[in-house]
């Protein structure tokens, strides 16, 4: 039994089991069998059991009935179509002689509309020949129609490095391992109950009395593996055949059941079931991560100035990470020389009015920017954070990876304290106000009220206690000025990448305005009372700053927890 026939039988079995369940498939979707990657997209009207417009009669052979066939590579499972969810996939089309990757989750043939029905051509090899007619008894003629049609989808491989290499069918998976073969879609003009329908849908056509003359999409695919050569010689094809006979008809002696006739297989070539209506030659390339660069996504910036937390962390060391370059595609690829390039990807809250970029080393840097992988396909170096928050992108480029230049996907290393939040000032936060730069745009640092959750709770408790302890004339909402920027790190007020705001680095510090907003307007804050609340009631840190302004910090015992979360 040839492989196409195997597939056909399996499809019939699957349909029988679905029929036993007596459930109509989900709107717009049909999968042919368990374990198959094949999906068909059924027009909405048919799927909802409505009487659809029949495709009959097409007074033309309809050879070009497969719209938008494409060879697609699906990099991950989530890229694969799921018609049941209305998702047509997000695969990448492979051009003629283009490259699909061995790391792809699947490679397949995806189509648009496929339409069945039409008359039988008078010349089976001529698309434009008129419909075949035959004389009928008693005079006159009748038009002959295609009673059955079938589309065969195939992906095969011929090793170009071997003379007279045999063509090997590599797609598509059957329900049994090792039965990779063609995928077939068939259509009948008249079912037992008189409906035109695609084979996978006959039960529903007959049960619900509908015709299904076209489908709006289809897909089938195979998963490349490490046994497949990375070379040219791969080919995707769609074959087409039609028959003037029903499956129950007796084929007259000398007649051909299917046209164009199947060309039998040879010792080096697979059989050709009819006419090739679409072909795409392609190469299988090494995996997308045959050369890769990886490391920690986040490292904490250094804080080199005095934090005032003399016991826990008077300064904070820069975060580091091991960065690995790996050359591996099914097996290790040893001794691959490469260089690493770096570019700034994000300035993490620095929106300097003078639109300059930070020194990249001040964001993060590598100990080395070139190397050669070892016998196991590995090479490592160290990434070290700077003092400025932001993201750098790193790519490794090998001039010769198995004969071809190759550049990795980007590894993005972000420097920052990533757990800080800005909850804003809620309507119930009547004891505090945000002050300073709060416009949100046109500023060097639009977000400047980011802090640890501990800091936000601390300043709220501080403000609440102040309303209790202060003399009535001194009461009012406290103005909370700068905390930290979005990912912390250097807070350069002047936008020049030089230190200022020395302690506003990791979400533990907040400036307090010298005046509170009371019922009668702004009045000077009672600093003694606030200092006692911060230092004694809350065990925090209180600093006087010039011009009667103040600076508060969370208690030292909280900093250990904060750094446990933030240091990496």
């Amino acid at each position: 039994m040839s492989k196409p026939l195997v597939v056909a039988v399996l499809a019939v079995c699957a349909i029988a089991s679905i029929a036993a369940a007596d459930e109509k498939p989900d709107r717009g979707t049909f999968k042919t069998r368990p374990g198959s990657t094949t999906q068909y997209q059924v027009p909405k009207a048919q799927a909802e059991g409505e009487a659809a417009q029949s495709g009959r009669p097409h007074m033309a052979p309809n050879y070009a009935a497969v719209q938008q066939p494409q060879l697609m590579r699906y990099r991950s499972e989530s890229d694969y179509p799921d018609y049941n969810r209305g998702f047509n996939g997000s695969g990448l089309a492979v051009a003629e002689n283009g490259i699909a990757r061995r790391s792809d989750w699947a490679i397949g043939i995806q189509t648009g509309t496929i339409r069945g029905g039409g008359c039988f051509p008078s010349n089976v090899n001529d698309d434009s020949s008129p419909c075949l007619t035959e004389a009928v008894a008693g005079g006159g003629t009748r038009t002959i129609y295609k009673e059955r049609e079938r589309w065969i989808f195939r992906i095969s491989y011929i090793d170009p490095s071997v003379s007279n290499a045999a063509e090997r069918n590599i797609g598509f998976p059957g329900i049994f391992a090792g039965l990779e073969g063609d995928d077939m879609l068939d259509y009948v003009r008249t079912t037992e109950r008189g409906h035109s329908c695609f084979g996978f849908y006959i039960y529903y056509c007959d049960t619900y009395g509908i015709d299904l003359d076209y489908i709006t999409g289809s897909v089938r695919a195979f998963k490349p593996d490490c046994t497949m050569k990375t070379a040219a010689g791969y080919k995707a094809q769609i074959f087409y055949q039609f028959s003037r006979y029903k499956s129950t008809d007796t084929i007259p002696p000398g007649a051909t059941e299917w046209e164009p006739a199947t060309i039998p297989a040879t010792t080096t070539r697979l059989e050709q079931p009819g006419r090739v209506i679409w072909t795409r030659n392609f190469q299988l390339g090494v995996g997308e991560n045959a050369l890769s660069i990886s490391g920690a996504g986040i490292v904490n910036p250094s804080v080199e100035s005095n934090t005032a937390y003399n016991t826990v962390a008077p300064t904070i060391a820069a975060g580091t990470s091991t960065v690995t370059v790996s050359s591996f595609d099914c097996v290790a690829i040893p001794n691959v020389a490469f260089t690493i390039t770096r570019e700034l990807l994000d300035k993490a809250g620095h929106d300097h009015v003078a639109a300059n970029d930070p020194p990249l080393d001040e964001v993060n840097s590598l100990a080395s920017y070139s190397g050669t992988t070892d016998s196991t396909g590995r090479w490592t170096t160290t990434l070290t954070a700077g003092r400025i928050a932001g993201s750098n992108s790193y790519k490794a480029t090998a001039p010769n990876l198995l004969g071809q230049p190759f550049t990795t996907s980007a590894y993005v290393a972000t420097t920052g304290f990533t757990g800080m939040i800005d909850p804003g000032v809620g309507t119930l936060d009547t004891d505090i106000r945000y002050t300073g730069n709060t416009e949100g745009s046109g500023l060097n640092h639009p977000g400047n009220h980011y802090g640890s959750p501990e800091l936000h709770q601390f300043v709220r408790e501080m403000a609440t206690m102040y309303q209790i302890e202060a003399d009535p004339a001194d009461r009012g909402s406290l103005g909370l000025n700068d905390m930290s920027i979005i990912l912390g790190g250097l807070f350069d007020i002047d936008g020049n990448w030089s230190p200022s705001h020395f302690r506003h680095r990791f979400g533990t510090d907040c400036d307090i305005d010298r005046r509170v907003l009371g019922p009668s307007g702004l009045v000077f804050l009672d600093q003694d009372t606030l200092q006692n609340i911060v230092e004694m009631n809350l065990d925090g840190i209180f600093l006087h700053e010039g011009g009667n302004r103040m600076h508060v910090q969370v208690p030292e015992y909280m900093v250990g927890d904060i750094l446990l979360r933030e240091a990496r």
């Binding site: 005032a308 003399n310 065990d539 700053e545």
Partner: protein, 310 residues
């Protein structure tokens, strides 16, 4: 925030000196000699220990003492506001860890003094607006903590007043930012004091010597933790913390210090405790003894000699 001037302390000093200022910049606020003495008494009826504190600011202090933090970290979770313990202030603390030792707080004048428990589980006390800051050479008593927990050695932190700095800093132009502004925490004086402690048998020293072991528990100590104590050179006093067993006979208690009867300095009561400061003068021997009832009903005597070596 407006444009900030980055000014280092040294630069400020230079500028002010050049302008004729003679005051020393950010004078030190050393208060390292400050101590917290504690008189412990025991209310047998309520089973409550009373810790009466006095802040002692030596004349060598360079700044007034604002107040102090006393560690109350415990081991077991307890209801924090214990209705059996007295307060004369409004207690607003409710964020401390559940394992903080519950206390009652009595201050000299609730209109002036502020006290409570920090979210970190420390007792704090200070006077409003610095009205009762303790100047060098002065003392401030009348601070009482009540607890069901017996005495042990706790960490205490004294805070200096930073008022001496404020005038200097406030004179700086608006927007001035100091890279390393003076921080009062740098002058916090940390020492130990007697306070409520969450103790287990392993935390006590029994004094040794007697059999059966239950007799040894008629007198137990959290200070010292050995019968021979080597003291730092120059030590002139030592506070002994003794806890009395629940079956002792108080009238049988006797105490001598290097042969001199000092029984009257102790207040033995079943389940009670004392923290008594004794003078150290050369090798000093403290001898304590008390009778008690054993679980068998018989009598026993616990007799301990503690030797202090300067």
């Amino acid at each position: 925030m407006n444009r900030t001037l980055k000014i280092h302390c040294l630069a400020i000093a230079v500028a002010l000196i050049a302008g004729g200022a003679v005051a020393q910049q950010f004078p030190p606020l050393t208060i390292s000699g400050t101590s917290l003495t504690c008189a412990v008494s025991y209310d047998s009826a309520r089973q409550v220990y009373r810790y009466a504190y006095t802040i002692n600011a030596p004349s060598t202090n360079l700044a007034p003492v604002v107040g102090f933090h006393l560690d109350l970290a415990g081991k077991s979770a307890r209801t924090q506001l214990d209705p059996t313990l007295q307060n004369n202030i409004v207690r607003r603390d409710n964020k401390q860890p559940a394992t903080t030792i519950p206390v009652g707080i009595i201050v000299p004048d609730p209109g002036i003094w502020r006290a409570g428990i920090t979210p970190g589980g420390q007792f704090y006390i200070y006077s409003r607006k610095g009205l009762m800051d303790v100047p060098a050479g002065a003392a401030q008593g009348g601070i009482v903590i009540e607890s069901h927990q017996p005495p042990g050695l706790r960490t205490v932190r004294f805070h200096p007043s930073t008022r001496a700095w404020n005038t200097i800093i406030d004179a700086l132009p608006l927007g001035t930012e100091l890279e390393n502004p003076p921080n009062g925490r740098d002058y916090i004086a940390t020492t130990t004091a007697i306070g409520p402690a969450d103790l287990t048998d392993a935390d006590f020293y029994s004094g040794g010597g007697q059999q059966p072991a239950e007799v040894n528990k008629f007198l137990r100590y959290t200070a010292p933790l050995d019968n021979r104590v080597k003291l730092p050179a120059g030590t002139t006093s030592y506070t002994v913390v003794v806890l009395y067993g629940t079956t002792i006979v108080p009238s049988t208690f006797q105490a001598t210090l290097s042969g001199v009867d000092i029984t009257s300095q102790f207040h033995p009561a079943p389940g009670g405790a004392d923290a008594v400061t004794i003078p150290i003068n050369g090798t000093t021997k403290l001898h304590l003894s008390v009778d008690g009832t054993k679980s068998s009903g018989g009598k026993g005597t616990d007799s301990d000699t503690l030797t202090f070596l300067p």
